[in-house]
Amino acid sequence: MSRLPRSLAVVLTLSVVLLALYPVFGQVVFPNKHAFLMQKLTGIMIMAVMAMSLDLLVGVAGLVSLGHAAFFGLGGYMLAMLSPEYAAANLWLVLPATLIAVAFAAAIVGYLSIRTSGIYFIMVTLAFGQMGFYFFNDSKFAGGSDGAYIMVKPAVEILGVSVLNLGDKRTLYYVGFGTLVGVYLLLRVLLASPFGRVVSAIGVNENRVRGLGFDPVVYKLVAFTIGGTIAGLAGFLAAIQYGFVNPATLSWHHSGEALVMVILGGMGTLFGPAIGAFVFELARMGFEAMTDHWLLPMGAMIIAIVLVLPKGIGGFLLQVFSARSKVEDGQ
């Protein structure tokens, strides 16, 4: 992936700063809704992390997965299962344990799935995702279809001193924010690395990559595992936010929503899917407030965006800003 046009980078940076400052000015701008909006934005940022992780598969490596939510859900369930019933879990133990477990699961699913491609890959990942859903839905140990609670949020301590109170909504907001920015930068660095360039090339033309002597299977598998693990991280955070996990977080509906965010936001642009998450969630909230029949405007909006913006919102922004920067550069 090439560098972003400078003006776009500036706009995105400004948006991120705005997001960072929300807890400061939110109270003034939305006095009546501030607390809720902060929670909502936290949730959206977590979904944006998931959307970006899916973009690594869909937009970059060309692996369209309809089972991505399985890793998101697994992340949450790991936390629920590792947390003691009435005491706080130690974040420094449960987080790595969760990520390792999710990475392991993603590696296995990835290993089996990447033998297929195209719609077959979509359906194999769907199959694994649904198996994950039914695994927790039918389980006795994790609350079954009713889901499970995490009664006490994990403690974040250094040398026995609590450094972060995850029960505090503002703290959690910044944890979500930090994760969003951190994951974005991590993925940018990853894609700029030699490894990332090979993965991107696979997304464009797998045969050529093979011809150059790289084994696409290995690269795809690593990308799949990284994407799955990041989704697991997002699910872990989502479970912390409300202290509740349910099999529905693993279901294909949830995977489908993440995919819609990615396509809507613009595949392969990383920042686009994050924007897609914001647009999707905020539009839903707005339409729900407007009408009982909110599915109608929601569907119409999605269709309109597909028809008008061929490369999604991110692609559109890239186009607008690269045209502008060309003008600025006097070309």
Binding site: V29, F30, P31, N32, K33, A35, F36, L37, Q39, K40, G43, Y134, N137, D138, G144, S145, D146, G147, Y149, Q241, Y242, G243, F244, N246, P247, A248, T249, S251, H253, H254, M285, E288, A289, M290, T291, D292, W294, L295
Partner: protein
């Protein structure tokens, strides 16, 4: 479409509030409207149930001049899409975003548990007008969580005795493999086996699979004395039709009322003879119920059902609590509000009921049977049945 116009007005209000032109916190609670958040399914499989509950609740409030404790009421509706993944988030939206005084919802048990979690975390008042998940008035029970419907165990348990008394000794139970299904089957099985009955087989289908043919064939080969089923909505409609078409009518079919309620017309002759137990029956021959059904028809244009009753009683419970504190929803009168709701005797169309210590109705369970296409009430299967509230510390 009163709902839309109200919502429109509400939207305008919200828009004004958002721009900061309106005072954000009302100094005197009594002058502002009471905000009631209805978090129910308005789309998807359970949309009809959500609408019935909404109409029932509004009707109860309208019957009191549209006021609760002397204050006008403002409804904030939210479609929960029966998506448990979004349950806590949606509940938080109503509590933190719309500052509702009461949260009412929902149908789906998983979503209701998410709401209960948020209610436990925030202390918000929650009234559950349907979801029967045992935990809500069991391990999760709390002073601020009430239920005006049933626990899954409750309507199923009395059928165990009915089956035994009718001479059945070997019964097959069948449902979907999910929480509500297993809890309902558990209720029946407890009532049946404690008398000496035997469960030949418990069949659990993948949720929400509606292809029953394989299991019907299995039931035919097992030849039990009776079959107890829990399905609801489209699954109930199809199961009863398929059961009859498979020629199994010689084996009595039993279930909780959800097996026939709301889908009886669609089931047609197939439902003939089906025995069900429930805390309500459309045909309940009491003046209260007849009046309720006529009023509901006039109010909403639709026939009342058990969901409408549960919504209506949710509205009544709200009214009793709010009357006791004269509309004061501030923290200072919270204890009085809860105390009044706890001892409320609710004049329900289903018959008067009180609440248990775990805040679940202590209610009569009726035995009903379909005869000539009509649900007939055969009698009371269990008088004033209380849920055992396993795991509830305050009960």
């Amino acid at each position: 479409m009163t709902r839309i116009s109200r919502r429109g007005a509400l939207l305008a209000g919200a828009a004004v509030a958002a721009t900061g032109l309106m005072p954000t916190r009302f100094a005197i609670g009594q002058t502002a409207k009471v905000r009631v958040g209805l978090m129910l399914p308005y789309s998807g499989t359970y949309a009809g149930l959500g609408e019935a509950i909404t109409s029932g609740l509004k009707m109860a409030v309208d019957a009191r001049g549209g006021k609760l404790g002397g204050r006008e009421v403002e409804y904030i509706l939210l479609d929960d899409e029966s998506n448990p993944g979004k349950g806590p988030e949606n509940a938080s939206k109503l509590i933190a975003g719309d500052h509702v005084d009461f949260l009412v919802g929902t149908v789906h048990s998983g979503v209701a548990l998410g709401m209960a979690k948020v209610a436990a975390d925030t202390g918000a008042m929650l009234i559950i007008p349907n979801a029967g998940v045992g935990a809500a008035t069991g391990p999760m029970c709390a002073p601020n969580i009430f239920r005006t419907s049933f626990s899954n165990w409750q309507p199923a348990y009395p059928m165990g005795k009915v089956a035994w008394d009718r001479g059945m000794r070997n019964v097959v139970t069948i449902s979907w493999k999910y929480g509500a299904g297993e809890e309902q089957l558990g209720g029946f099985e407890e009532g049946f086996t404690q008398r000496g009955g035997k469960i030949v087989k418990r069949i659990l289908l993948p949720f929400p699979n509606e292809e029953f043919q394989a299991n019907l064939t299995e039931i035919a080969s097992l030849r039990p004395d009776g079959v107890f089923a829990f399905f609801a909505g489209s699954g109930a409609l199809k199961f009863v039709k398929d059961y009859a078409a498979a020629g199994l009518k010689s084996i009595p079919l039993m279930g909780t009322g959800f097996l026939t309620d709301g889908v009886l017309a669609g089931q047609g002759e197939a439902a003939e003879g089906v025995l069900t137990t429930l805390h309500y029956a459309d045909a309940l021959d009491t003046p209260d119920n007849k009046k309720f059904r006529a009023d509901f028809k006039a109010f909403s244009g639709k026939e009342a059902d058990v969901y409408a009753v549960q919504g209506y009683d949710g509205g009544q419970l709200l009214a009793i609590g709010m009357d006791a504190v004269k509309g004061d929803t501030t923290a200072g009168s919270r204890a009085a509000l809860i105390a009044a709701m706890e001892v409320a005797e609710i004049k329900s169309p289903r018959g008067a009921f009180t609440l248990s210590k775990a805040h679940n109705p202590v209610q009569d369970i009726y035995l009903r049977q379909v005869k000539n296409g009509q649900e007939i009430v055969l009698g009371v299967a269990h008088k004033a049945l209380a849920d055992p509230a396993k795991g509830c510390k305050s009960a």
